[in-house]
Symmetry: D3
Subunit: 241 residues, 6 copies
């Protein structure tokens, strides 16, 4: 029983985090988990949405999308269909919640950050790559604000935690870390886990779809995920230093 | 430290499952978890969506919605806004996946069942009530098909598992089962768990949003949820007998 | 020649008006005309739409919708289709106009009331049941405002008339009151009449579609409708006392 | 008490029906009721909508719209807004029903006719002018089909009735025929009546909005409307001869 | 080699510009290029779009549309489809840019003019007819503003140039001016040219689609177009005097 | 008078064409004109749109889009807005027409190619870069089809011309080739020219917007554009060899 790319069950794919990939955004990171390639940009604007004005609090939100041919066969554009699909909505909301878990919105002040995560190439794990890359883009945007004296507190107070995310699943009865696409479609159980650098959980989403899973399978997957997130946190730390 | 309605941490709200609440659908269940009230109907149609034709397999899908004044303040209708929000999409997909986990789509044959879950009154836990009620409506629809000789196998083979769902959270540092709305908004962590009657997991979705949670908190919540789902499974069994 | 449910031509179906059916809205009435079941809620908000601000006048509007399986076969949700159909628009506008005919918008002050009429089960006459129930929900919302000293005048001045509505048609050559669905589809002529408790008309909408109708048929239908509305007005009065 | 244009209460505005106003459509009529100017075109296509195929029956439908500056101030285009308003829906449906009342859809065979009624200039009564003009355009389209041997029966059998429509209202306490815009906004009651050339009713739609109306007012309006429709039927007959 | 209507290659179709075709708009021109018939109205409103407020500058924009049966076969309404097509967008933008080239937006002050160009009948060249007619409607709207003392400068300063437009193409190897529909579909190259009365260019849009074109063909088309626009400018001048 | 990046008036920015930038599509090219960076992918599908079936002819179409933060400030996603803007429509149509000019759709057979041009970073000239890159992606897709014996003729017959495109404008009175963003916003005249490798024109689109341009300015721009396209054609040839 070997993985398609010969990895060990507990092994991540090669991870690359390229900062300043594009020149306009306040934060811009190309994140790669193997062949999965996501461009994460952080856009800062002064002010907050109407419902939040006068609160003294900032806002962080995310939008996830795929280029039409990021996948093996082409998907119609959601702009052409005139509506955003459920999967896109779901992932955008997950990324937004995850990133808000690591920032002190009061210390951010009435500034908004939009994290755009556009999948340029998909090979499984796009949402977890997006969260991992978006954290680095957010860190750059926070530094950008700090350099312009637009924060009330130190960047390390504003961004008081780091978050990283990884997928994990049970494939052919074996718990495996960081599924590629071929494994993802073959998995009985699929789970996405978002952790802080301390190993606390931000989000845990496990689904059996056709199948179900036992408590011991759940425990095995959580263990793999926590270790994988720790590696990703370290990669984030290194690239941001 | 007491709960708003005086329950113990591990106690469900009163659960009511009223079958045949409306007369047209093939299955129709009003489910109540305390003041949360969801009308779950199962609509059977012959045939399946285009992408599934000729597969010999059936299809089960779900749509979740709220009446505009199911909540304390009125929400604009999604039909009027012209688009379905991310939360609605997310919950509809969760209900659909959960119910597909308990049915043998091959044994269903090329029949489709749509599970409509309309929240008439909301007091927390609407998605878990919806899953719990939709299972009963689906069981009635499967019987309806069986009575008309439109199934290839016995109803107990077609519907080979039961599913039930409950919310759980950490409120004021205490893990609690089946949160009402007041607890939901105060929770540091919020989790929705879908289980089979055997205690296996179908879905586990935990989120910290502003906060994070430790492995021991996760374990405490899972334990409460499994026990709660077992009670709900029993209630489903009783009402279907 | 007998009616499907054995009624006399001039006889209403059993009418039930259940106040406070749900707990959140300022007015909440479940209205039943036989098997037709509509939940009418009144939602009060301070202020009025932009185009009316500063006028000192309030606003009352209505939205009608059907649950997807309120009918014998399932209808796609308008939220999923992304647009509201002509029939829904037409009925929402009719309900809004009818209710505005019974309220003094100046005496209401700059408050808005939205009347949501959601058909839980349909067996003909849903729009007339909706108007009849919405009047009671509106009366409760006016009392709610009065109890909070938010009205400029007495509730009986604000709500200076009552309105009720009923359908009437010519079926198999016979004028009949309050058509059920089976009669509705068989009718040559179909008419919806909205009256005040004084027997004045608020709306008269008669249509032949495939057929046409003479002046004497029109007169016979109007007579039945006025008598039916008088009964409904009395039922409203009783339940509001 | 005089009308803005000096007419007597029972007097129509000058009516003009110009056939073949444009060259492409199978029927094309510019109808004018005073300053109200509506272009009615009839477009014939072979075949019927999917839900009607194989029935041997034809289909007639209508679409009503206003140019953005047909009115005293400009209205945004519904194409730009991305949705059709309730009023447009309501009127399109009324025109369609009215025209279907005069045609034998079986004798039409599986042909479709779309009646487009575009208001080029509005001064009250646009929907009644549209019905009156659309009838003439439909008659021309039926002749066009007959000339090409595409009808099963004689044109006079296919189009077995004529329909015409007029508005009527109570203005300053006086029942008046064919209201211009200035009268329409001042009316306590407003009614649209569609009649056949025999004086039977196809549609009767009366509304009080802010006000209500008595049976005697209703009778007075119906009388004016029937006489007005008779004049319009005669004008249609003359222009089609 | 003759043209379908016997014209010489360098000959325009009969051009008619009818001012005040409708009574409500501040400018209203029916423009005819042969059988192509476009109603151009200019609607003035005080104030400018939000993004332009406080600039002291006015705004001119245009919307182009076709009646569904302006063409030989019926096109579905864009309002019914719920979206505006690419061709409509493209032409609306072209008309807007062209008209803004002839007006001094600073001298217009914070007033807006919307130019609605609705094609009542199409026989090729609808966009160039629309530009030519819209200029006359705009001139009337500027006079209307001037008569009400709402301009900062003289009308001739506000509208400091005139613009006219014509199509030109290569059909059967021959460069031709002002293509009718039959020529348009047969053309290898199709070009729309917008000129000022001085013979300067405002827009040049040439497209080969299936074919390509040489520099000498381009030059021949430009020459025809400049001469054609000069004739149209003269027609505008005459009708505005 | 110098250009922002020190180029001569007739000088292109550095051009890079990177083939096989992503792994899934049949053709995939990252094109860079200086800091403008567009990912062009070609997606092949068997069969053609419904309206073209049975014609024996293939189809080529294009979709252009920008990532939200390709630009200096963030633009809302068209998928979120629910509609595609006029500019996007216009450019998509231009790219599609341009690429269809270089392919023999009959020789392509009933295959479809969609060219997706997604702007990852924008610094002026995105549409011309997109056309230039899309040609190379299309060439790769044609080779892909040829390698699988799915073409009726040799690739060089199917793709019988090459196309390239460049922008040109008059800035501060000087005609310049390949405008960057800073020049684009300062230009009096802006022109996009699409040429074949033979120097024939496929599209010429010049616009003055606020300004106008003379024949001699037009000639100067055309000359620059033809020379620029020749250089780009050569770059395409080199990278495809």
């Amino acid at each position: 029983m070997t993985r398609p790319d010969g990895r060990k069950p507990e092994q991540l794919r090669p991870v690359r985090l390229t900062r300043e990939w594009s020149s306009h955004p306040e934060g811009s990171v190309l994140v790669e988990f193997g062949d999965t390639r996501v461009l994460c940009t952080a856009s800062v604007t002064e002010g907050v949405p109407r419902w939040r004005r006068g609160s003294g609090q900032g806002w962080v939100t995310a939008e996830y999308a795929m280029l039409p041919r990021a996948t093996t066969s082409r998907n119609d554009r959601e702009s052409v269909k005139g509506r955003i699909g459920g999967r896109t909505h779901e992932i955008s909301r997950l990324i937004g919640r995850s990133l808000r878990a690591c920032i002190d919105l009061g210390a951010l002040g009435e500034n908004s950050v939009v994290l755009d995560c556009d999948v340029l190439q998909a090979d499984g794990g796009t949402r977890t790559a997006a969260i991992t890359g978006a954290y680095v883009a957010l860190a750059d945007a926070v530094s950008w604000l700090s350099n312009r004296q637009r924060l009330r507190k130190a960047p390390s107070v504003v961004l008081h935690r780091s978050v990283a995310a990884v997928s994990v699943g049970v494939v052919e009865g074996e718990p495996r870390l960081d599924l590629c696409y071929a494994e993802d479609v073959a998995a009985d159980v699929d789970m996405n886990v978002v952790c802080t650098s301390n190993g606390d959980f931000v989000e845990v989403q496990g689904t059996g779809e056709a199948s179900v899973f036992s408590r011991s399978e759940l425990d095995a997957m959580l263990e793999l995920a926590v270790a994988g997130c720790a590696e990703l946190s370290e990669a984030q730390r290194v690239v941001l230093t």
